[in-house]
Structure formats: C-alpha cells, structure tokens
C-alpha cells in the first residue's frame, strides 16, 4: 500500500544532511513551508545550499535558518524584502554566498532540473551584469544566455490539500514555486493543510501529480508569518 503521510515533522526532515541542496517553496510568506523549515532548524543540518525566491523575514522561517548559520549559499531572485535583516547583514559581512538569478530564469532552472533538461538558453539577462561568465549564443539573430537546470536533494513545499498518493492542490498565489520544486528534488517533502481521501481531489484539478511527492505531513493550522513578525517572535520560540 502506498501512503506518503508521515506522522511527524521530525520524521519528515530526518535525513537532510550537511551540505544538502534544499528548495523551499514560497513567494515571501505565501506558500513558505514554515513548519518544515523550523523542523529543519531543530534537526540541525548545516552547510546547506538553499534555493528559494527570497531570503525570509524577521527571525522566523528561512530567516531563522539563515540566522542559525545553517545556510552556506542562497540561490534566489530577490534577497531583500520588508523586514528582512538577517540575510542582508550576513551578506554585507561576507558570511553567506549569494547566487542572484532573474526570477523567470530561477523558475525555468528548477523546471528544467525536474524535467531532465540539463541546460537551456534564455533571453533574460543578456547585456546585463548577470550575464557575466555565462555562455552566449545567437538564435535567429537574437542573443541568449546559457543557464543550467537545478536539482535538489530535498524540496520542502507547502500546499492546501493532499491525498495519500501525494496528489496536491494549492491555494491562490501560494502555489508559486511549489509545483516545479516538487519535480526537481530527490526527496519532495510536503506540508499540507488538509489530508483528504483518495478520490476527493478531482483528477482534472490535481496540480501536482503524486509521483513527484515522497512524504507528506499534515499541518492543519500553519503559522502566519506576518503575525509572528509583527509580534517579534524568534524561532526557536522566545
């Protein structure tokens, strides 16, 4: 029998290793798997390379993972946001690496990584500082830059509903990077707001097919990151 539901957050993240590449879904707080990130802080893996659009806010979630010096390198498109102080401070002190990637290139690199495409050419970043050091090629008279697919050891993704096969649906703009990150990791770990019975998800409306998902943990009432930041919480809690 296939049942991808695991009983606890600690079980879900138990085998992340020092040096792992970890993708984290989310655009700002929308879709960020904050409970899985906190479980990863507790689990202790370090020297991580994290792929995520932003770098977290306040002192919770990804910002806390970075603050605990678990992240060696960030691959992202927009490493500063309102209330983001942890990454900017470490970055200006030279204590964390940054690979800055245009947002569409980041999405396509993840998609390619999950689709077995090692590299592709894109028009984004041609003639800009972000083209430096990259191969350029001309197709039909226009210049393009070579970009490589990204594969991860783990993807942590937040979704709205899941069944035991791992079929997933999302909520509004919290979908963002989730579906492509599910495809691009050796181990895709999902936190869902609701577990539903097989058959409850309309097969025509499933967004992520279960084959891309390895483990699911149910978190019925996920934390509201902006509220935690407004109330100045830090993880681990104090």
């Amino acid at each position: 029998m296939i049942n991808k539901l695991v009983p606890s957050l600690s079980e879900a993240v138990k085998d992340v290793k020092d040096g792992s590449v970890v993708m984290l879904s989310g655009f700002g707080q929308a879709g960020s798997p904050i409970e899985l990130i906190h479980a990863l802080i507790d689990q202790g893996a370090s020297d991580l390379t994290v792929v995520s659009n932003n770098t977290g806010s306040g002192h919770v979630g990804l910002a806390s993972l970075i603050e605990h010096r678990r992240v060696k390198k960030m691959i992202c498109s927009f490493p500063r946001t309102t209330h983001s102080t942890v990454f900017p401070e470490l970055y200006s002190n030279g204590e964390i690496e940054l690979e800055l990637v245009p947002q569409g290139t980041l999405a396509e690199r993840i998609r390619a990584g999950g689709a077995g495409i090692p590299a592709f050419y894109t028009p984004a970043s041609v003639d800009t500082p972000l083209e430096e050091g990259k191969e350029r090629r001309t197709f039909n008279g226009r210049s393009y830059v070579l970009e490589y697919g990204i594969e991860a050891d783990f993807s942590f993704v937040k979704c709205e509903g899941a069944d035991r096969y791992g079929n997933l649906v999302y909520n509004k703009t919290a979908r963002n990077f989730g579906p492509i990150m599910c495809t691009a990791a050796e181990n895709t770990v999902v936190q869902t707001k609701k577990m539903v019975d097989l058959g409850d998800l309309d097969p025509e409306a499933v967004v992520t097919p279960g084959i891309f998902v390895n483990r699911i943990v149910e978190i019925n009432q996920p934390l509201d990151e902006s509220q935690l930041i407004a109330e100045n919480w830090r993880y681990p809690w104090h």
Binding site: L100, P102, G104, A107, P123, S125, K172, T173, I180, D224
Partner: protein, 218 residues
C-alpha cells in the same frame, strides 16, 4: 522659465492616465511595483484589461477591503490583492512562460535611467556592499511585447534620468518602447528619442535642458 511653475508638469495621476490611455481594450498587462501600479486606476470606461502578476495570477483585482486581506493572495510587490471573476492561478514556470514567451502585451516599469536607445536601468544602483535584488525585471523586459517606462523626468537632485547612455547596471538593452514622464511622452525610435507629447506650457528647449539624451520633434 516655464519650468519653475510646478503646475505645468503632469501629476503622478496624470502620468498614470497617459499610460492607461495607450493600453487598448483586451490587453494583458503586467504592472511593476510603485508608480506603475497607479495605471490600473485610470483605465478608460469600456475597456477590459487583464492584469498579470508574476507570482501566479492572471486577473488581478484591486486591494481588498480592510479585514478581507488573504496572506495567500498577494501581488509581486507582496501587497494584498483580490482576484477578479474569471481569474486563474498558475505556478512560476507557467507565469514566466507568459512573460518570456511574448504572451503579455504591455509591461509598465519604473526606471533609474533610460537611454536614447531604449536601454533600461531599474534593478540596482550598484553600490558596493548593498544587497542586489533583481526579481522578474530582466525576464519582463526580455519577453513582454511592449515595455513602457513611467518615471519622473529627473532625479530628486534634478539630474536627468533620460540619458545618452545608462551609467547604472542594465536591466536590458534596447528594450523600452515609450517613456512617460512628468514633462513629456517620448518614443524610442531608430531615429532617436521622439517627443510625442509635452506637458502643458513646457517648451522644447526647456524639456531638452532637463534631458541628457538628444530629443527630436517629429
């Protein structure tokens, strides 16, 4: 000097309206963060325009009423928004397929500098030690059919933003089609920067004095 009189410049609202008037019925539009967002307030009656936000929504509506904010329904600037009837959600790779694949008709962006060749600098001032952040700007200028820029004609210090060559790091080269400032509407053409329209009461000489790039009258 005509320019000493603030009344002769277009207000931010008038600038946004100038842009809105040039976006035809049925267009798919991506609005950048800040002043570009105001364009949505000035769409003429009878036109249906669909707004795309790169974080995965086609059919973005206005801000929600107070108390109805949904942290999982936001725009690219991470502000709370609503979805119109007939909206749809999608993941990031599909969102940038719309952008890079030339499916979006118009994108309106802010600028630090625009050159007379249509080069755009709008993502970083390139200061040492500062955290660079690019977001979707480079994908948008590479793929959207028409790139419009809305910006003050000069910086707060009075330095021209419409320049012969951008000194700041580029977002894209030769990508801007039209520039809307508080003083003029300028078209980027093969012959150079053409003045399409000037704010009321401003002479060509006064406009040229505030512009580093060479302007041309059609």
């Amino acid at each position: 000097m005509a320019l000493e009189n603030n009344k002769q410049e277009w207000t931010k609202g008038e600038m946004a309206q100038n842009v809105a008037l040039d976006i035809p019925d049925g267009s798919y539009v991506n609005l950048g963060i800040g002043m570009p967002e105001m364009v949505a307030d000035y769409v003429p009656e009878g036109r249906e325009v669909i707004y795309h936000t790169e974080n995965g929504l086609l059919g973005m509506g206005p801000e929600p009423e107070q108390g109805k904010e949904d942290p999982e329904l936001i725009n690219a600037g991470k502000k709370y928004v609503t979805a119109i009837t007939g909206a749809c959600y999608f993941h990031h790779a599909d969102s940038f397929t719309m952008i890079r694949g030339k499916h979006i008709d118009f994108c309106v962006l802010g600028a630090y500098q625009v050159s007379e060749q249509g080069d755009l600098a709008n993502w970083t001032l390139g200061k040492p030690g500062a955290v660079p952040a690019v977001g979707g700007a480079m994908d948008l200028v590479a793929g959207v059919k028409n790139i419009f820029v809305i910006t003050r004609h000069t910086t707060k210090q009075g330095k021209p933003k419409i320049v012969r060559d951008c000194q700041l790091p580029l977002t894209g080269k030769g990508v801007v089609k039209r520039i809307y400032t508080d003083l003029a509407i300028l078209d980027v053409t093969q012959q150079g920067l053409m003045v399409k329209e000037m704010a009321p009461g401003i002479s060509f000489e006064a406009l040229q004095n505030k512009t580093d790039a060479q302007l041309k009258m059609p």
